[in-house]
Amino acid sequence: MSTKNWPLWEIFVRSKNGLEHRHCGSLHAADADMALENARDVYTRRSEGVSIWVVESKNITASNPENNGELFEPAHDKVYRHPTFYDLPDEVKHM
């Protein structure tokens, strides 16, 4: 058994310029350089990407689904943040 296991990295791929990087999975690598090389082989074998980000998984802080109520529900009753909340005369065609 190896003394130390390779850490886990989260992989983000930009499929083409103009689009954002998207999370596509994770992999193990000894360091960031190797994570980039492995990500190229594992996640872009069919030209799926033009740019790769790798982030060591332990550096990601995620919200807890148990707190989803406090975090996200307050937005539900703020319908005035959407354009359809406002009444306009029919004569106004584009606004």
Binding site: W6, L27, A30, M34, D41, V42, R45, R46, P65
Partner: protein, 318 residues
């Protein structure tokens, strides 16, 4: 948590799945859901990894450069599929090393189909056409399964898998249209791989133990027998098209069912292979464990190198 609270959470959980909501890694889930997913997903990952061995056997002896690049790409895809699935399984709280340990110790299973030998080039055709064909039938419904990371991994896998089946069928077609010896070779491969491919879709519904629960969790969308029938109905006409004969004397089109009737599957053989007595079980594990052990110094050296680089960087910055 009290028993009642857990029961409550479980009901909410089942309702979410029934509404077609996805479950994500940090969501609460019943222990049984977690365990069942770890078992099925890691087994799936192990199958991809062990599945590289029978085909790897022929890479150096592929009959042309065209066949060789295709086979190499296919085997590389299988490594990739194994890695997607391992990383998806890790989101359930099991480490990669634990999964490897389970595979290497024989505690975890992999698809029994890979315990058959690949003795001729035609076996590369039969595996792509039949084994990948059966795998696709199994996997397509999983693109919709309830566990988000598994579903996303399966979408990638399925997208990549269709080339695997086509390259296999093309190999078979070429051989079937070749010299009499080549055609015999193709027929022989079909004869050997047909029944194991049918078994690959799992035990019959009446003995399959996990079906009901797995259906509820969308780990399974169709029963083993339905999947098997679908595989047979789609494959028989393909065999006819290239002039090969399915090795089943009882195979017959059933007008009323709109499906093929087929002969008895030798389930004793299936269980023998599952229990480790297939023709290649020992060799497969020997190759896999050997590769893992021989690679240990490389993994350690890579880690030591990474640490040294990191230290040097910190010294320069400090």
């Amino acid at each position: 948590m009290s028993e009642e609270q857990i029961k409550n959470l479980e009901e909410q959980f089942e309702a979410r799945i029934a509404r077609d909501e996805k479950i994500e890694p940090k969501d609460w889930m019943p222990e049984k859901y977690r365990k069942t997913h770890i078992r099925q997903m890691s087994q799936h990952a192990h199958s991809e990894i062990v599945g590289m061995l029978p085909e790897g056997n022929w890479i150096t002896r592929a009959p042309s450069l065209r066949r060789k690049v295709a086979l190499l790409a296919k085997v590389q895809d299988e490594a990739g599929h194994g890695l997607y699935l391992y990383s998806a399984t890790e989101t359930l709280g099991i480490s990669r090393d634990e999964m490897y340990e389970q595979l290497h110790s024989g505690k975890a299973k992999y698809s029994s189909i890979f315990n058959y030998p690949t003795i001729t080039w035609a076996d590369m055709g039969a595996i792509g056409w039949l084994v990948d064909g059966a795998a696709i039938i199994n996997q397509v419904p999983l693109c919709n399964t309830s566990y988000g990371p598994y579903a996303r991994a399966m979408i990638r896998v399925c997208k990549e898998e269709s080339f695997h089946q086509r390259q296999g069928f093309e190999i078979m077609m070429k051989l079937a249209n070749g010299t009499p010896e080549q055609k015999d070779m193709a027929q022989d491969a079909l004869n050997r791989w047909w029944w194991p491919s049918l078994m690959m879709l799992g035990p019959t519904d009446d003995v399959s133990v996990h079906t009901a629960q797995s259906m509820k969790w969308k780990l399974k969308r169709k029963s083993n027998d339905d999947l098997r029938q679908q595989f047979i109905d789609q494959t028989v006409p393909q065999a006819e098209l290239i002039g090969l004969t399915i090795p089943d004397a009882d195979l017959k089109w059933n007008e009323t069912r709109g499906s093929y009737d087929f002969g008895e599957i030798d389930w004793d053989e299936f269980w023998q292979v599952v229990k480790g007595h297939g023709p290649m079980n020992k060799e497969r594990m020997k190759a896999r464990v050997g590769a893992w052990e021989r690679g240990e110094w490389v993994r350690d050296a890579a880690m030591a190198h990474a640490e040294k680089k990191q230290e040097r960087k910190q010294k320069q910055a400090g």
